[in-house]
Amino acid sequence: MKTIKDKVAKLSFVALLMTLSAAMLYTPTASAHGEKSQAAFMRMRTIHWFDLNWSKPKVAVNETMEISGKFHVFAGWPETVDKPEVTFLNIGIPGPVFIRAGSWIGDQLVPRSVSLELGETYSFRVLLKARRPGEWHVHTMMNVEGGGPIIGPGKFVTITGTMGSFRNELTTLTGENLDLETWGLSNVYFWHGLWYLIGVAWVVYWIRRPVFVPRALAVNAGKLDGLVTDTDKKVAIIFFVGTIGIVLLGMGQANSKYPVTTPLQAGLMRGMVPLEMPEAFVDVKVEEASYRVPGRAMQMTLTVTNNGDVAVRLGEFNTASVRFLDPEVYQDDSGYPADLLADAGLSVSDNSPLQPGETRTIEVTASDAAWEVYRLSDLIYDPDSRFAGLLFFFDENGGRQMVMVDAPLIPVFI
């Protein structure tokens, strides 16, 4: 019996400690390094980020930088993920190290959730104002209701200066100039402090007298007289009336100080305007695709037809933000994150210019450690083993064709 009691006591103590610490230590999600742990098909077959640009590698507190680019909403959106009918253009940073000074899809400011169309491409930009010094990984990010966060590529940005000098100055429609960083803060402390003191006063009033043992004995013996005296009742009435009085007073004061207030603004935004993408004149058919596990390489057999009037060459394969380039055709000088850039990772069996009207079957190999590092190779263990990505063809006039590919993938283990 005793051991059981001890065990129960011990366990409940541990449980208590756990709840206590769980409650005290709760911190809202701040980290954003989940990109590698996200299922490969989520990254390959949902949102494709491209043409990304982080405007500065280094900013001082109070300065702004911008992340801009495009994203393509994959038409073969996986069935297991909710369609992007309610989405939010977010930014993957470890907490408010920047403030989001603005975010746009096309020309539309998107502080709210938006609806996206499958198969469309959108341009976006996110304006960030530096707040907390440090070196931060800044990711593009799209939240999809029912699908979770879809994290794009991340790049390190350094913020210099001190957080104490950060200002978030604004002017309201009522003509008030304020710094949102500290606006209303002393008022919050005042009211919380005041009410806490009132609460403490009420409890202290009662515990000045003996509390538990004598009162329990008296209650058990039915001797209730004297446990609550007439003075106690008077004090209680003062607290009661005082509470209502302070509430009414505070309310009246707030209403006269802030005569114009509006309810919180919320709601879904529809009708995002997609980018006008020229119809691609290159036609690609995936004959076969396999992933060689030992070589960390993906091989595709593609039949490519050029229906345009200018010769093209394959320069880039982009999947899940990893970019495989053929350096002879295309080199990246945008400062794309190095770990996601296989700048010579794409080899094509015959990459001579594909003439207008010509059809050619080519062997394309995309190999890089990134397949493993970014756990894209895990997609061979997916229930629906497919891959998807963007192919970019370049012509000699500097034009670019974007073609989406989506096909089954066969793993090769030996």
Binding site: T19, R100, L109, R131, E145, V228, G250, V260
Partner: protein
């Protein structure tokens, strides 16, 4: 010393021991409340209590009182019935608010750098005082449930309005209208809280036009009464003394 002998030898000593006992129990109760009530409120009230841009006229006003009247009802059941002590609700709220403030200040601000004026807790103290005084003066749990539960729900919004009113000033920002609270939510990036999970200003009370806060408060007050009854019985059950046959 046999079990039948008293552990104290004089009245003065008895008083001293009883007093030490008072402080020990008060301390333990307070710590348990900080932990238990806080985690309960975080799981049920959660984001509505964390952020200014969730403190709206409909759902916050409705949800917060309903999920927070629980522990006060249970603790009142114990402290009043067993000891005639009328501070059950107040001590709960003191514990909750202390726990919340520690968490918001150290973690939300100190660790993650959300400004305190964005993540302060809701004020529950006015309701707690009213609840305690009503129980004390009426000496009736039924009356406390009805009148106290009502007061708890109704006083919540006016008790918080002086704190949140400054965050409801409208502002034009990049061609759209925001309240300052909305703008805080937009500026201070929460990667784990995308805009669409923000449950504010939703519901079927639109027919009441502009005055939705009082309607929400009345609805909340009615449900608070029911929850008070429910948790009163939990409290009652937990404060039973039972004797177990020794083996």
């Amino acid at each position: 010393m046999s079990a039948s002998q008293s552990a104290v030898r004089s009245r003065a000593e008895a008083v001293k021991v009883s007093r030490t006992f008072d402080y020990l129990i008060l301390w333990t109760v307070f710590m348990v409340l900080i932990g238990g009530y806080h985690i309960h409120y975080m799981l049920t009230g959660g984001d509505w209590d964390f952020w200014t841009d969730w403190k709206d006229r409909r759902l916050w006003v409705t949800v917060a009182p309903i999920v927070s009247i629980t522990f006060p009802a249970a603790v009142q059941a114990c402290l009043w019935a067993r000891y005639r002590l009328p501070f059950g609700a107040t001590i709960c709220v003191l514990g909750l608010l202390l726990g919340e403030w520690i968490n918001r200040y150290l973690n939300f601000w100190g660790w993650t750098y959300f400004p305190v004026n964005f993540c302060f807790p809701s004020n529950l103290m006015p309701g707690a005082i009213l609840l305690d005084v009503i129980l004390m003066l009426s000496n009736s749990f039924t009356l406390t449930a009805v009148l106290g539960g009502m007061a708890w729900g109704l006083v919540f919004y006016p008790g918080n309005w002086p704190i949140i009113a400054p965050f409801h000033i409208p502002i034009e920002y990049n061609g759209m209208m925001f309240t300052l609270a909305d703008l805080q939510g937009y500026h201070y990036v929460r990667t784990g809280t995308p805009e669409y999970i923000r449950m504010v200003e939703k519901g079927t009370l639109r027919t009441f036009g502009k005055d939705v806060a009082p309607v929400s408060a009345f609805f909340s007050a009615f449900v608070s009464i029911l929850i008070y009854f429910l948790w009163h019985f939990f409290g009652n059950w937990f404060s039973q003394t039972r004797f177990v046959q020794s083996t």
